[in-house]
Symmetry: C2
Amino acid sequence: MKDTQHPGRRPPANTIVADDGDDLRFCSTCAFGSVCLPAGVDKTALRELHMLVEHAGPYRAGEHVFRSGEPFAAIFAVRGGVVKTRQLDDDGREQVLGFHLPGEMIGLNAIHAEKYPCDAIALDTVFVCRFSFPALATLATKMPGVQQQLFRLLSADIGKASLLAGDYSADERLAAFLLLLADRFAARGFSAKAFRLEMSRGDIANYLRLAAETVSRVLRRLQDQKLIHVEGRDVELLDRASLQDLARNILHQ
Amino acid sequence: MKDTQHPGRRPPANTIVADDGDDLRFCSTCAFGSVCLPAGVDKTALRELHMLVEHAGPYRAGEHVFRSGEPFAAIFAVRGGVVKTRQLDDDGREQVLGFHLPGEMIGLNAIHAEKYPCDAIALDTVFVCRFSFPALATLATKMPGVQQQLFRLLSADIGKASLLAGDYSADERLAAFLLLLADRFAARGFSAKAFRLEMSRGDIANYLRLAAETVSRVLRRLQDQKLIHVEGRDVELLDRASLQDLARNILHQ
DNA sequence: ACGATTGCTTGATCTGCATCAGGGCGCGGC
DNA sequence: GCCGCGCCCTGATGCAGATCAAGCAATCGT
């Protein structure tokens, strides 16, 4: 079993998961909930939207939600668990593009080429919502709010992709990584202070363009400086201010 | 008038510019031309589209097309010249996000936060088309092809942003940079073999997360190996195959 | 219960690129 | 003309982080 311990002690065999909605309500973390609910979306439209959403999963750790090269037909919202997206070059070397928490969308980068440019892999037990993209696009022509939300989601991803850019030090990168994760957990209603890194040190390293050994060393250094507490994959942020100071060039302003 | 050439010697006071269209035709490089023309768009729709397009420019080298923090109201297509997008962190250090050639769109990353997250600065004499975004979004609800094209443009930018990622060597980065530029020039009808780098070595270095000195050295090394010929800001690709070999991990596949 | 595998950590060494320093060229202003 | 400035090149040195190596703990398959 995974789990055990301490920041957080969660019931066994469980994953980070938000509530599930039902026939009338959206999942509380749904990216479209915020569009439809305040828009006073009528029952018909709601049903129309639900027509094109399928719940899928569970995927077990290591399983693919989609694979690089598959024809693009749908985007996905993570409903529970954590998903890693990555590319493999022809030598088989991995390139981690990102980690995706409940409430976040994946597959948006597949629209352009009409096939997925990356693999999406469950890091723990994962549930997703599948949105047929053609159906969603059609709905978007009828509901400007949905179109606007899609534009926003796409636009946001452009910015995210260029965050990891920049030639920052290993310490800056890790501080920023932890803070961004914390904020994303907080935005979904989880603790921003203590959380579990579902990904391996190797994945973190790859994502941040570092060696796994460096990630190990920096985490220890941050712990020695009492900025964080690390125990295996569980992290607790002890001194947010100092972390923010470290990361301020990356999170600019 | 365009211009051909050989690295070097272009008529003075001129810039890379594609044809301009008129009241009935789109600019030949227009990102939306490909949507509207084959869609057999009728004159009314064309006029509607033109209603929301304004030609702007010329901007002289160093002038801003938009500034970081300004409220987002429009996206722009570069019509002539080269535009650099960049962010400044609070210490005033620059971070170059990209270079944009005629036919390419800028400002897409501003939708999310409803303000521009970066500066767009002319590197030489620049002309642009300005598309009111609210008007464009409205049009998109009526013309699915326009909506689809917007989705595609946004999606493509997500992928571009993660290209510069990865921990590649200076040689790999520069080879990839030159090849991508060449392809983009070719896509707009310019020579893919010989072209002018409108940006300084410093800008290239910043974009590729290198020092300007390193860019200088690598260009010289590539020239010594007879892969390219460099003369000031004019470049000629002599051995595309070897460059592609160098860059194959970045351009993956 | 066993070895095999995988993930994490720590130490020692190596290296690619940044940094520092200096010099040349071309251009605009006076 | 000359000066100053921006841009580019080249060489010498230093360092952050990669790489190599080794050991430990937890998990897995049999």
